[in-house]
Symmetry: C2
Subunit: 352 residues, 2 copies
């Protein structure tokens, strides 16, 4: 069958090699003559998978001493609540930068434990840029931001220089580029972009937060529960973690995050160059805030839409329709999308 | 390779036919030339999967009008908290029957929203029976119980006749026998026994509860969030739901819950008959409360242990070691375990 150029915004493309291994394990995992779907999470074979997944996260992201890595469930949407529960402390106030739909949802969850102070927002400009020049109040317990905004195609180019503990929802760009984990107190990310299939959520946490004067936290919302029990307080999402582990192994094999970052930058360079060159297209996000993961663009001449849509579909391109809240097109170029798929899209744009 | 007789307590055995289809979809889902792991949950093809899963739950369990079915994440462990949040009302008190480790954990989570009143417990007898003769206080907002106790091998034979709203954690026996859903206000169940792979949690809820005077509930803990958004408020655990749907299709194909219940009763009859007949073995649970799902038993002569362990391992039996809190043996006989596997175990017991 013809190759699909999978630009899905998430769950998204995974490496073919990973998919092949993932399918094999559904039939026979580790030579046990049992499916990965029907083994105990307490079995030695799966405990080894979990341990390897955690070790690979630490190795690939160069997680420093004094940090723990664990997996939970619920996606970043539960992470909005969990991060607030775990990070709120004496001030009962938290600072948030609002850069899109996901930040906005995160802000709403703070109400369960304290007050959210929105210190900067690009909401009035339909989130077409990352706010700058804000002041971070020191009477807040932490600063929260969303590193990459999937819907609007913006991305923080620098980690905010924060005088208070820093929390980041990195769901859509973790493992896509080098980050300095030591600058954060808490990082969380839904798996379904660059990590693995939907169903697992990654937490990277500075152990220090557990000894702060925290509020009472329900067991499953307490990140310490999951850290202390090696992500096995309850039955983990076994298959999502298994495939994430395979994907991290693959990332290591191709040269780690540094090598992947170069590929991602190359893909972004090719596509943005065409958007800027071709008078039929226009980028949506402010140039200095453009995301390497999600490229948002519109046609300058709406009458060309039917023809363009027909052309990219004919080229076997899938998933580039823009989110309903912004319209136009969105090319999501997560780690596993090959440069050749970007070239196919650019060729279609040139031919329009 | 030799067939493994998979008695795993969960995640547990699934039908071979389901596993085969589940593996195929990892390579190519719905003929899209894309893996089920890399498609958008908003794609028409996956929305159809979700709709079919919900429809099959309703059909197989004969869910009456006025009830909704949805999938969330977090397992029953998050369900302990979510059920309390969603069901606590004006009295700020909830009645619990404590029949094992899972009930005990559920009780602990009520503290986040109100007070748990333990109206009956078999804890002092290491949970070897289901308490009887208790009074259900009418000044509690709901009664909560665990229908089947995986670790101790006990199971409610009847649904408690409750004058207050009834909530049940059915993680380990849902879809194993007919139940009258109309008696419940809320049923929840982790997928990883008779439904599908770990990572999805099923909620069956009487819509009426949403119009009660409930407390303020964080978005992701509010069952109404998931019901209103057709289990897609955020990215669902796509693969767990897909395989659950396949498994429900399979259950329907073999004749539905009625047919499955007969098979389960036959398996239980065969194994308990041997335990009662063979002087080398003794059942752990009170006879009248015996579970059809998890059969707990011990050797009457401990000196036979090494030999018995060697024999069942040689017969390719897997996963019958008892839970550490009770010792001995536990044969978990979830839906997909064939009668022939039970016969193999019984033959080993006879040969000891």
């Amino acid at each position: 069958m013809a190759k699909v150029h999978n630009y899905s915004a998430g769950p998204c493309i995974l490496p073919q090699e990973v998919i092949k291994e993932a399918a094999d394990a559904v039939i026979n995992f580790d030579g046990l003559n049992l499916s990965i779907l029907e083994i105990s999470h307490r079995s030695a074979n799966f405990v080894a998978v979990m341990d390897e997944a955690v070790a690979l996260v630490k190795e690939l992201l160069e997680v420093p001493e004094g940090y723990s890595v664990c997996f939970a469930q619920g996606g970043a949407s539960l992470g909005f609540l969990m991060s607030a529960y775990n990070m709120i402390a004496d001030n009962k106030k938290a600072a948030y930068i609002n850069t899109g739909t996901w930040s906005d949802k995160a802000i709403k969850e703070v109400g369960a434990v304290g007050e959210a102070v929105v210190i900067a927002s690009s909401k009035d400009d339909n989130y077409n840029h990352i706010p700058k020049g804000y002041t971070i109040p020191t009477d807040c317990d932490y600063l929260h931001y969303t590193s990459n905004n999937t819907i609007f195609g913006t991305q923080f180019q620098e980690i905010p220089n924060s005088p208070i503990p820093l929390v980041c929802d990195m769901s859509s760009d973790i493992f896509s580029k080098k980050i300095d984990v030591s600058k954060f107190d808490l990082i969380y990310a839904g798996a379904q972009k660059n990590l693995g299939p939907a169903g697992a959520t990654l937490y990277i946490v500075k152990d220090e937060i557990f000894s702060r004067n925290r509020i009472k936290i329900p067991t499953m919302l307490d990140i310490e529960t999951h850290v202390k029990k090696d992500s096995m307080f309850n039955t983990p999402p076994v298959y999502s973690i298994y495939v994430s582990m395979l994907n991290l192994r693959h990332l290591k094999k191709i040269g780690g995050i540094e090598a992947q970052q170069k590929i991602n930058e190359e893909k972004a360079r090719i596509l943005y160059a065409e958007i800027d060159r071709n008078p039929l297209f226009k980028g949506v996000a402010a140039e200095e805030d453009r995301s390497t993961m999600n490229v948002t663009f519109v046609l300058t001449d709406e009458s060309k839409q039917a023809k363009f849509d027909e052309m990219w579909k004919a080229a076997n391109i899938s998933g580039i329709k823009g989110h309903r809240s912004i319209g136009g097109y969105r090319a999501s170029m997560y780690n596993a999308l090959p440069v050749s798929s970007v070239q196919v899209l650019v060729d279609v744009m040139k031919a329009l």
